[in-house]
């Protein structure tokens, strides 16, 4: 058996530019290809046979396809602009200086020590990992298994390929630039519609580049040339080449990934979101292989791939080839190879009676043929060296020497994008393929994606699809049924099932499917998950149909009954870097800045992103976080602390019915709230669970300000609008979210009134004139202000609201006044600890998705409220009043630090595992009290005051006493000062 010649390129032909050599390396070896090559064609042209090792059995694998259907050729590629850890070689245009490495095989993909596992292959069938490595501990085995599997190669040198995101819209999206897609786009020229034609390849034409065909009475080359030129010249057709449509979503929104190429690599990845009026799906189909023993050796590839490599890239993929087919299309590969001067040993056809015209054509080419036959064995180690063939009816086996084998098992329409929109493909036994049973709204299909077609039929179908989009009636000749005369052939009846590969990427064999059937995994979804069939990066394009057809045979069902798995976006792998694009570093997400951000920054604020960038603590207040937090707490307790509360939600609710409207949302009685007064309350969901807490300020009888938590500001405004619009539309209420219009600085501490006085307010701020929970409007420091006397710290506290543009001026002035008094800026951490000492609730931290106001001890307030409110009825249900509910309590201990998250152990249990009765929701050391304080949700907590509980905290057991929340200033003397 002769090896492939030193030169693997035909002397002429192909779409490559021989005047422009392109140098690249593979596994460190320098190679040369041509402009117009893909990485796969260039490697083949350089004699590379083995490019990977299989996933489980470490078998040598070569090129199997010529595009996105190839399950094997995932390589690590670095070009001048970036690095891809695993990318399909057949989709990568060759670029100057490209450095390519195989991802599997040690030390080399062509010589892999891991191949020693092969004698044990029969013991590592489907489910082997799940069954074997669970004992004694999966983690013992996991590192080794992870090291030996996977398709990517991490590179220490970071390289972020430039990427950007683009949004656009168009009238018509034509997906696929093959015969049908081009015909459709051509028919839409000057139609008055903006049309996008997206194709995953750099050149239009699809299979026409390697297929002999006549279209509209002209050669394929002539048709392709004319149509390409017309499309390029058309003003209304926007051609996006090298662009994969990766997902179809509701509202006809599509995601697409476009590669912008330069001579030395992918200069830019552009991630598109395209909103579309109508869609013509012309994605064509991919060829399926045939399943037989030893069908995975390098040198075996799809017939269409062999034709493409020869015709489009002038590559000699083998010196002596055979073709194995169950339909007419396979013969094209034989003719293509023969006409390129490659020795074609034999066409093995599973059909007993192929068309006579094909037999005649073979005879004319001098190619032998075996009909009604099948391959029962293949030979070779790192390259195919021969096959053994036998008649399906039995008889003697015959060995044929060859180093290339083309497989044609029929085609599978690429219906994935339609399936993203919920369309279920249906099996058509006439063509042995799943075809779209229907189209999503405003979609139509063209070409092979509907059913296998000849190029001439595909072109007519494209024109018809365009007519449909334009609303014109177009008579189209019925497609010739089964134009390639396929006779389904799913597997040989005998032979080593463990060597019949169905999914070449995940090493799933017929034996695995048989095992799945024996163990009851007969649902196609279970089959997929149990065996990993179709779960690789190729998403099972060449394996799914064969696999489920085999399962159908094993379980005595027809293929329609078995169905297909669900296709989900993305259609093909999309680099995360392309999705993220420029959203890195400070642009990672849309940060929100305080009005006085620069002042905080200048004061050494350490910011925390909690939806807004808020100061957690200030470096100027101490060396390290803890020291600074303690100083900030001390300032608020003994002098004055300044806290920026600008993110707190502010929603104006106005109108004749504003009061009655708000009363429907709060557990407290808003009907009695007087102008100039403020009331704290809770807002519930309909199930009685706490949604938000905050204060309601009555400015006058028709204007209220809802103060809500920072994180819920948008949600509360939407909640109010939703109920107004859907339940109480007749109420005359206006909801105006004004959070961002105001800067809000809280001044807290025993010197707070002194600070406010220093701003020369034009309102009386004495304790009697401006008591706790009241509101005043006036000029403060020369700024028009809204001032609320409320407290989150337990100290005398004012919240001064000024227009946001004046926030920095106000804060600067307050800092000047407070500093001589011993005051300072206070960060979020100190602020939250101050409230914890006081025992105040922090919704979200101290509540969960079950907590109701009854769990907080607010039953008395609710009982007193005469009117209804959202969630009230739910609070009367047995579930809500059960004694077993977790209720909010205080906890304290002196011995050991409390931490949020610690579980309170049940009964007399001292060690987990045991039942838990609740958990610590917030905790800290209280400098004012001298012991650790916390809040906890504890079963029947309100009845357990004084009880000692055991808290499990990351291995330690801490004893703590249950108490009422708010040990600091229990008589509120400081608050009311």
């Amino acid at each position: 058996m002769s090896r492939r010649p030193a030169h693997h390129r035909l002397p002429e032909g192909g779409c490559i530019d021989r005047s422009r050599p392109v140098r690249f390396s593979f596994n460190g070896r320098q190679m040369t290809g041509y402009a117009g090559d893909t990485l796969a064609s260039a490697l083949l042209a350089n004699g590379v046979d083995v490019i990977a090792r299989s996933f489980k059995y470490r078998r040598p694998r070569g090129f199997f396809g010529s595009g996105l259907e190839d399950p094997l050729a995932m390589l690590a590629v670095r070009d001048a602009y970036g690095y891809d850890a695993a990318i399909r070689a057949a989709q990568v245009p060759l670029a100057d200086g490209m450095a390519v490495h195989a991802n599997t095989g040690w030390p080399l993909s062509s010589f892999d020590v891991g191949g020693l596992i092969r004698p044990f292959a029969r013991f590592i069938k489907a489910g082997f990992y799940y069954k074997t490595f669970m004992w004694p501990n999966w983690r013992w085995f996991e590192p080794l298994i992870r090291r030996t599997t996977g398709f990517g190669r991490i590179d220490a040198i970071a390289a972020v390929r430039p990427a950007e995101r683009v949004h656009a819209s168009c009238d018509v999206l034509v997906i696929g630039g093959g015969t049908a897609g081009m015909a459709a786009a051509h028919a839409l020229i000057n139609s008055g519609h903006e049309v996008v034609l997206a194709d995953d390849r750099p050149r239009l034409g699809g299979a026409l580049a390697w297929t002999d065909a006549d279209i509209d009475g002209r050669t394929a080359d002539a048709w392709l040339h004319d149509r390409s030129a017309a499309i390029a010249d058309a003003d209304n057709i926007h051609l996006l080449s090298s662009t994969v449509v990766t997902g179809a979503y509701e509202g006809n929104v599509f995601t697409m990934l476009q590669y912008v190429h330069a001579n030395d690599g992918v200069v830019l990845q552009r991630h598109w979101k395209l909103r579309v009026g109508k869609v013509i799906l012309a994605t064509g189909s991919v060829e399926r292989p045939l399943v037989f023993p030893g069908n995975d050796r390098p040198g075996i590839m799809l017939a269409s791939a062999m034709s493409r490599y020869i015709r489009e890239f002038a590559v000699i993929p083998a010196t002596r080839v055979c073709v194995f087919t169950n339909n007419d299309a396979g013969y094209d590969a034989a003719f293509t190879a023969s006409r390129a001067g490659i020795d074609v040993a034999c066409v093995i056809d599973t059909r007993d009676v192929p068309p006579v015209r094909l037999q005649s054509a073979l005879e004319a080419e001098g190619i032998s043929q075996m009909t009604g036959s099948e391959i029962i064995h293949t030979h070779g180690s790192t390259r195919l060296s021969g096959i053994t063939v036998r008649a399906r009816s039995g008889g003697a086996a015959r060995r044929i020497d060859c180093d290339g084998l083309a497989l044609a098992g029929g085609v599978s329409p690429l219906v994935h994008l339609a399936a993203h929109r919920g369309i279920k493909p249906v099996y058509d036994p006439d063509v042995a393929a799943f075809v779209p049973g229907a189209w999503p709204e405003n979609w139509t299909g063209a070409g092979d994606v509907q059913t296998p077609m000849t190029p001439d039929q595909a072109a007519a179908s494209g024109v018809a699809a365009a007519s449909q989009v334009l609303g014109k009636k177009q008579d189209v000749a019925d497609a010739v049924p089964n134009p390639f005369n396929i006779e389904a052939y799913w597997r040989p009846p005998t032979g080593d099932a463990g060597m019949m590969f169905v999914d070449l990427q995940n090493d799933v064999t017929v034996a695995d499917i048989e095992l799945a059937a024996r163990e009851g995994y007969v649902s196609v979804e279970h089959l997929k998950r149990y065996t990993t069939l179709g779960m690789g990066t190729d998403q099972g394009r060449t394996s799914n149909i064969n696999g489920l057809a085999i399962m159908a045979g094993l379980s005595g069902r027809d293929i329609t009954e078995v169905g297909t798995t669900t296709f989900r976006p993305p259609y093909t792998a999309v680099p995360m870097g392309a999705v993220a694009a420029n959203r890195t570093g400070p642009l990672y997400r849309a940060a929100r800045y305080l009005p006085a951000h620069d002042i905080h920054d200048a004061a050494g604020a350490v910011f925390e992103d909690v939806g807004w960038l808020r100061p957690d603590w200030y470096r100027q207040n101490g060396k390290g976080r803890e020291a600074a937090v303690l100083k900030e707490m001390a300032a608020a307790r003994h002098a004055v602390g300044l806290f920026d509360g600008s993110p707190l939600g502010k929603i104006e609710v106005a109108g004749p019915d504003a009061r009655a409207f708000l009363d429907l949302f709060y557990v407290s009685n808003i009907m009695t709230l007087k102008p100039g007064r403020i009331r704290y309350s809770l807002m519930l969901h309909v199930d009685g669970v706490i949604f938000d807490d905050g204060v309601v300020t009555c400015i006058d009888d028709t204007l209220f300000v809802v103060g809500c938590s920072s994180g819920n500001a948008d949600a509360v405004a939407a909640w109010l609008e939703r109920w107004h619009q859907t339940e109480w539309p007749s109420m005359q209420v206006a909801v105006a979210p004004v959070t961002s219009n105001w800067a809000s600085i809280a001044v807290a501490g025993p010197r707070a009134r002194d600070v406010l006085a220093a701003l020369n307010p034009d309102v009386d701020i004495s304790s009697t004139a401006f008591p706790h929970m009241s509101f005043r409007e006036g000029a403060i420091g020369g700024m028009m202000s809204r001032v609320s006397r409320v407290s989150f710290t337990g100290e005398l506290q004012y919240e001064i609201n000024v227009p946001a543009a004046q926030g920095d001026a106000l804060l600067e002035r307050l800092m000047e006044i407070a500093a001589p008094m011993g005051g300072c800026l206070v960060g979020l951490e100190a602020w939250l600890r101050l409230r914890l000492e006081k025992g105040y609730l922090h919704v979200g931290a101290d509540t969960n998705g079950r907590t109701t106001p009854l769990d907080l001890g607010m039953g008395g307030i609710i009982d007193k409220k005469p009117g209804d409110f959202i969630g009230r009825r739910s609070l009367s249900l047995a579930y809500a009043v059960s004694a077993d509910r977790e209720q909010l309590v205080g906890i304290k201990c002196t011995a050991a630090p409390l931490r949020a998250g610690g579980r309170i152990l049940a009964g007399d249990d001292t060690r987990p595992p045991c039942r838990s009765e609740g958990y610590v929701t917030s905790a800290c050391f209280s400098p004012s009290l001298g012991f650790h304080v916390g809040l906890a949700l504890l079963e029947n907590g309100s009845e357990r005051m004084g009880e000692t509980v055991r808290i499990y905290d990351d291995g330690d057991i801490i004893k703590a006493e249950v108490c009422r929340p708010g040990a600091y200033d229990p008589d509120n003397e400081r608050l009311m000062a």
Binding site: P162, E164, R165, V166, H167, A168, S169, C170, D171, E194, V196, H238, V260, A262, V267, L268, R270, W272, K273, R275, G277, N582, P586, L587, R589, A590, A591, R592, Y593, L594, P595, H597, W612, S646, P647, E652, A654, G655, P656, D657, A658, T702, L703, Q732, V733, A734, V735, A736, V738, S740, N741, W742, P803, A804, A805, Q806
Partner: protein, 187 residues
């Protein structure tokens, strides 16, 4: 320029100007009653015309009124006219059936102009929510770079964008980054 050209092909992004808008004040009007009724009442009581068609802008000196929702509008007035506008509406609607509140500090405005401005915006979101696009003189509320914006197309390549003040810093950084790409002529 059609929407696909705007999406970024062969455009020179260096010609874009972005700047803050000074000299104006804004007030937010929210109606407690049906929007059409409120619009009529505003016209009758205060001689203020606000648009009632979604996405439209009413440019009637000395103010510009933007449609925000069926029951809310943003009014741009001269800075020294803010107090008078607030007072007029409050006086006209003492029961706050039509509520007005200061909004000058809530928003930060950017102005973009130049042939590449649409391309810049297309990097951040759908400038057009339908194939009909955003016509000159119209506005819409959408997301650009995941930030809620009010976008007003003043001319073919002139845009005003209003974002919440707290998000202006991020938006400015995003504009600067998006402008940093220089596409090759082949692109």
């Amino acid at each position: 320029m059609n929407t696909l050209d705007a999406a970024g092909m062969m455009l020179d992004l260096t010609q874009i100007e972005s700047c803050a808008v000074d000299g104006y004040a804004h007030v937010l009007i929210v109606s407690a009653v049906d929007g059409t009724e409120a619009a009529a009442a505003l016209n009758e009581t205060c001689t203020i015309t606000v648009p009632t068609e979604p996405g439209t802008v009413c440019d009637e000196a000395p103010y510009i009124a933007f449609w925000l929702s069926p029951r809310s509008w943003l009014l741009r007035v001269e800075q020294d006219g803010e107090a008078a506008m607030l007072a007029a509406i409050r006086k006209g609607f003492p029961d706050r059936r039509v509520h007005v509140t200061p909004y000058s500090d809530a928003l930060h405005w950017f102005e973009l102009s130049g042939p590449g401005s649409a391309a810049l915006l297309a990097r951040g979101g759908f400038v057009t929510l339908s194939v009909d696009g955003l016509a000159v003189g119209c506005m819409k509320r959408t997301l650009i770079a995941d930030v809620p914006v009010l976008i007003w197309r003043q001319a073919q390549a002139d845009w005003s964008l209003a974002v919440e003040r707290s998000r202006a810093g991020y938006m400015a950084g995003w504009f600067a980054n998006a402008r940093s790409y220089r596409l090759s002529p082949e692109d």
